[in-house]
């Protein structure tokens, strides 16, 4: 895959915010999927969202994409479209690759549909499969079409939900090259992944989510440093250690709060008992 050439879009610099998220909360009934999440993504920045299964990564990206409404909080998007590449390829199996691209380009009111379709086919390396039905493609190629659909409207920011999950190592390598080129061309990229090494390798910043809470927002190196002093660990081990430490710290805070509440309750009972005797 080859990214579109050129620098940051007109008027956009590396410091231009493409996404600003504040106090984002999402409740599914009583279950809390996200709680008070806030961060900023800038043009040309690669932001990785990592965390264990069920941490809220997909929910966060779906809200940023406008596919799911938040229960509270706000998402400010920069002018220009936001591209979205959902976890499952969102395309029509009974349409060909070119027909899928053409349809979504028309729906997005892209100015020059044939040129855009041709460009995306070339960038994703699918020009020779343009006439093939999407349903007949391999998982990797379907994912390429999925990515291409997310980039049709030349977005200022693109959101990718576990984009490499169905790819083999070589396809994965090509995808990351493509995404890196997108970022270097000035597109803000926010991606989620459960392959932690990808975050270390490609992201400028990582956001660590656990049980819907944003635990960490900073460069990968900083996360490794915070996970514990002195030990030689790879990034994945450091990430797991960080989660464990934060988890045990949170557990001890919760235990302390519970003990304090119980003590208060016991004191009130004792006061009521002595008052009754008097």
């Amino acid at each position: 895959m080859r990214a579109a050439s050129g620098g940051v879009g007109p008027g956009a610099t590396r410091d231009t915010e493409v996404l600003r998220v504040e106090g984002l909360t999402k409740l599914y009934g009583k279950r809390r999927a996200l709680h008070d999440v806030g961060f900023v993504a800038r043009a040309g920045e690669l932001v990785a969202v990592i965390g264990p299964n069920g941490a809220g990564k997909t929910t966060l990206l779906s809200i940023l994409a406008g596919a799911v409404r938040p229960s509270a909080g706000s998402v400010d998007r920069a002018a220009g479209a936001i591209g979205w590449v959902p976890q499952q390829p969102a395309l029509y199996s009974k349409l060909s690759v070119a027909e899928n691209l053409r349809l979504f380009a028309r729906l997005a009111r892209v100015p020059d549909v044939p040129a855009t379709v041709a460009r995306m086919l070339e960038q994703t390396g699918l020009a020779d499969r343009a006439g093939d039905l999407a349903g007949s493609l391999s998982g990797g190629n379907r994912q390429r079409v999925n990515v291409a659909l997310g980039l049709l409207s030349d977005p200022s920011a693109v959101l990718l939900d576990e984009p490499s999950s169905s790819l083999d190592p070589s396809q994965r390598e090509r995808l990351w090259e493509f995404i890196a080129e997108l970022a270097s061309a000035g597109t803000g990229v926010v991606f989620s992944t459960h392959i932690v090494s990808e975050a270390e390798r490609y992201a400028h910043r990582v956001l660590v989510l656990d049980e819907g809470e944003l635990l960490f927002d900073g460069p990968p190196r900083e996360l490794a440093e915070q996970s514990g002093p002195g030990e030689q660990r790879d990034f994945e081990a450091a990430f797991v250690a960080y989660l464990r430490e934060r988890g045990s710290a949170q557990e001890s805070v919760a235990r302390e709060q519970q003990a304090r509440a119980q003590a208060t309750a016991r004191g009130e009972q004792a006061r009521e008992g002595s008052g009754g005797a008097a």
Binding site: A67, P89, A90, L91, Y92, K94, L95, L103, L107
Partner: protein, 446 residues
Amino acid sequence: MRWMLAKDLVILRRSRLLVALLVLYPVAIALLIGFAISRSPSAPRVAIVDETPPGQVITLGGRRIGLAEYTNQLFNQVHVVRVPTRAAAAAKVSSGDVIAAVVIPPDIVRRISSGVSQAQVEVIYNGDALEQSFVRSTIDSALAQANLALSEQITHVAVRDLDLLLAGGSLEALGANQSIIGLSHISPALTDIARRQPRALDRATLIRVAGFADFAARNLSVAKNVLTTVSAPIRAKSTLLAGKRTPLDTYAVVVAVSISLMFVCVLLAAGGIALEREEHTIARLIRGPPALISREGLLAEKTLLAAGSSFLVAIAMLLGVGTFVALDLSRVGLWVLALAFGAIAFGALGIAIGALAREVRAASLLAFLLSLPLAFLALVPSGSVARGLYDVIGAISFVFPYKAALQALDAAVNGASPGMGVSIVHLLVLTLLFGGLARVGLRRAE
């Protein structure tokens, strides 16, 4: 919306098997239902054991009716399988070769001819409750027809004799022809004789006898009418309160077409929305701002696609069937109106099912599970079930569009009651209701 419509048409064109099934299955079901309603069943096979001696004749009032003539009347509604003995007949019933057997006893002629004792035939039958009910009603109906034919014969003989008694004429008795005067001629004859007699007791007596003869003649004339009436005591005179009388075959066409319209439309609309979910494209389409297509736009597009496709199937069916059944082609404009509103209401029901079911298989199953009973419930005639149950059926039929669409199409094709206006308003209300439900179903996906 036009790009989505074009996309769906391309997908439909590439799903030929699905489209073929979607069109052929409801058409086949609809035609079966139509034939079942419009065609009377073929004559059931009934075994007959005739134990009477050959050449027996029933003699009634001097009139002779061959037994074969009577049994022909009795069995002209069934396919007769003649068997020699009662045991053979029972075996045929047990094996299911015939649905019933009728045994005509040897003394039937004597009993009928006696005019005082009732003749009796034995009916042997088997099978489940439904078959038993069918056999009983078939044999009862056949007996009623045969008895009616016999009583008509008896009435005919009695009326002829009464005519002779009243008007006089030639009567064959004891091998010789005798001329009888007739009751109506006695009174004038006696009055004439009395006028010529001297005023005495005999003259007064003659005048009294003449008066009685006149009275008897007039009352016997009334008795002739009474006899004719007794042979067919009740005749039906039909009064339709509203609309036109709907012939059964054109009503069957309406039922068949409306069922096809419902199946094609509900399945396409439900499948269309569910397919967007299954392909994960729905979130890509409606996310925003700005959305590629609004939620309402997406629902309207699926409704339009399903309604348009089913409309074409239905109108083709109507025009096709119109070559076999006499339909009033001057009402085509009304057909189009009824089919269009019906299709849109079915489309709204379909998108509601698709939005709630979330996947194609579940949506298709739900569409079938809903559509089939709806069609059957709408066809249950009032009075055929208990009042309370009929009210429940009526309430269910009211909140789904099938019955309203059937009534609209019946009004359009046959001019039946209630008129199209009421049914179309009903369909519009249901369209809004199910459209709203579909919108809520899409919201639930978030």
